[in-house]
């Protein structure tokens, strides 16, 4: 079966900074992310993972081409793009004074006419999103009153409320405790089962190995792209981390184990 692509990058280059201080941080990246799959982007610090994700979301100026659902990203109208592509960033300033319900309702903006009140469909989507991240109980509380992990679950619900086909998440597990990391895993599995595409940047290699596919990055380049179960993917992963980790199979799951020198 030939699956169509959700996101595609061709000869993607990104330069950050101004004037003489401009540095190229992504070099000539070409990759295709298949629809209805979960892809994790992994690599050491400074490899350009978040930069790549931002580019795919249209958040950074780039040269080359990015295609969303097989149409050039630049040709999408703001609103249409927002309905098909949802974004969950890391360490963004957050609205301490908005209550949880209002924050998640912002995810419905792309579906609402300007100034129109929330429709029944909006309310259902918000309720569903809040319940799927176990944040429903705090719907009346201000975001500023929540802990880091609780806040992360609300922001995840905000991204889910968009009900977009493609969901990009930068470090979505930050501040989440192990049980909620597992919850996040089953949530992503469920999204993918419903035909959604999920792309996440993850530092937790063990969690990333649960994905369908891995994109391994180092120094602003993609060094490998392949299924998580493939041995070549494991070797590429070990290589970018200087063989300080080793991928093994344990009880039917792939795990990354630290390799100490001693």
């Amino acid at each position: 079966m030939v699956r169509s692509s959700a996101l595609q990058a061709n000869a993607l280059c990104v330069r950050l900074g101004h004037g003489r201080h401009q540095v190229e941080v992504l070099h000539d990246i070409s990759l295709t992310l298949t629809r209805g799959r979960w892809t994790s982007i992994v690599g050491p610090n400074g490899a350009g993972k978040s930069t790549l994700l931002k580019c795919l979301a249209g958040l950074l100026p780039y040269t080359g081409e990015v295609q969303l659902l097989e149409q050039p990203l630049r040709q999408w109208s703001h609103r249409e793009r927002a309905r098909h592509l949802a974004w969950l960033g890391q360490n963004e300033v957050s609205a301490d004074d908005l209550c949880v319900w209002d924050v998640v309702m912002l995810g419905r903006l792309p579906h609402q006419a300007w100034l129109a009140p929330a429709s029944e469909a909006d309310r259902v989507a918000v309720e569903q999103a809040l319940k799927s991240t176990q944040a429903w109980a705090w719907r009346d509380r201000a975001l500023g009153q929540l802990s880091g992990g609780e806040r992360q679950r609300v922001l995840l619900a905000r991204a889910l409320a968009v009900e977009a086909d493609v969901l990009l998440m930068d470090e979505p597990l930050a501040n989440l405790d192990p049980p909620h990391q597992v919850d996040w895993l089953s949530l992503v599995r469920e999204l993918v089962a419903h035909g959604k595409t999920v792309v996440s940047v993850l530092h937790e290699i063990g969690m990333a190995l649960h994905a369908d596919e891995l994109v391994v990055m180092a120094d602003g380049r993609v060094t490998h792209q392949g299924a998580c179960s493939e041995a070549s993917t494991h070797r590429a992963l070990e290589a970018v981390f200087d063989h300080r980790i080793a991928v093994h199979s344990l009880q039917g799951q792939w795990v990354a184990i630290a390799q100490t020198d001693h």
Partner: protein
């Protein structure tokens, strides 16, 4: 959520404004006197009714309405600034827009040539002769408002340019302070070259509602309505921006043009208030804080409530300014600075003890 609570608070804002307005028309240089009675039933007090009507209609009511409108403009500007720059310390003054507006007004006065030799109060009584800072002629009011607006826009742009965007909070506030000080010095320099206007401008620099006539009050009310409508249209942008620029963009908001429109609202409301009443401090900072300490809500509600709160605060301060040391009068800007500063100190202290207890 909780629209009902926001609606209740809005009603409280409206009713307290009406109650203060009734009190406001009764307080003057002789302290408190009941002028509502003679106005209500002129037949029973025929001798007082005519005088009461003149005092209330020509002096106290426009002044009271003007104080409300100026406060409402500043409260709205404060809420917009804090949302726009995602900074609870942003206010019309800290971003330099008020200093820019006052420089604009001062330069317009000097350019118009008349100076402000006559205190507006006098010229108002005489039907308005000179181009005074508190003159009641419509073209003067609109001209000064325009100058204030231009000055405010340029000052905010200058602040944003110096801080290289609104991304870095500390740099933004420091640039705002620098622009405020430099433009403030510029205003004094301009005034130095037109000594005639010094006396009137002194009241202006301290902030005063004493010379607000119907023209000023009407100009402020119309601008307030326009700014409030525009801000209401853009309220969701502020909500979106509070989740960060990237998220706002991912939600399909055209962040840059909408931010420019919001800077326009901020500058227009600040410029208009400053052009009519001078530099009245802290109302724009304290009003949104007051509302946020009472309710957590969206920017649409926050801006409306903060505007109502600003109106009530300045109206109350105006009455105190008239009544505290009657027959003398305090410049209302001095009073708001003392009261607003005290309130913010208390808020900071309370915030510190709260976080201290939590950690």
């Amino acid at each position: 959520m909780m629209p009902t609570r926001a609606v209740w608070m809005g009603l409280v804002g409206v009713w307290s404004a009406l109650a203060l307005a009734a009190l406001g028309v009764c307080v003057g240089s002789t302290g408190f006197e009941n002028l509502i009675g003679p106005l209500w039933s002129p037949a029973s007090h025929p001798d007082q009714a005519a005088m009461a009507q003149q005092i209330v209609w020509e002096i106290r009511l426009p002044r009271t309405v003007g104080a409300w409108a100026a406060g409402a403009l500043l409260g709205l500007a404060g809420a917009v600034a804090q949302g726009l720059f995602r900074n609870p310390l942003a206010d019309p003054y800290l971003l330099g827009s008020a200093s820019g507006a006052s420089l604009g007004v001062a330069m317009a006065l000097v350019a118009l040539g008349g100076g402000a030799g006559m205190l507006g109060g006098v010229s108002m009584m005489n039907g308005g002769v000179a181009v005074g800072v508190f003159s009641s002629a419509l073209w003067v009011r609109i001209g000064l408002t325009g100058a204030g607006f231009l000055g405010a826009v340029l000052a905010v742009l200058l602040t944003l340019m110096l801080s290289r965007g609104a991304g870095h909070t500390l740099r933004l506030l420091l640039s705002g302070v620098v622009v405020g000080v430099v433009l403030g010095a510029g205003t004094h320099l301009v005034l130095l070259f037109s000594p005639d206007s010094l006396q009137a401008m002194q009241a202006f620099m301290l902030g005063s509602t004493a010379f607000v006539g119907w023209t000023s009050a009407t100009v402020m009310l119309i601008v307030w309505l326009a700014c409030w409508l525009l801000a209401g249209l853009l309220a969701r942008v502020l909500d979106g921006l509070s989740l960060g620029d990237s998220t706002a963009f991912s939600l399909g908001l055209a962040v840059t043009p909408m931010r420019a429109a919001l800077v326009g609202v901020l500058a227009l409301s600040t410029g208009t208030a400053v052009a009519q009443t001078g530099l009245i401090a802290f109302v724009g900072l304290a009003a949104p804080h007051l509302i946020r300490s009472l309710i957590k809500t969206t920017h649409a509600h926050l801006m409306m409530l903060s505007s109502l709160a600003g109106g009530v605060l300045l109206m109350g301060a105006d009455i105190l300014a008239r009544g505290l040391i009657a027959p003398q009068e305090l410049p209302v800007g001095v009073l708001t600075a003392v009261l607003g500063g005290g309130y913010l100190l208390w808020l900071m202290h309370r915030g510190q003890t709260q976080t201290g207890g939590a950690s």
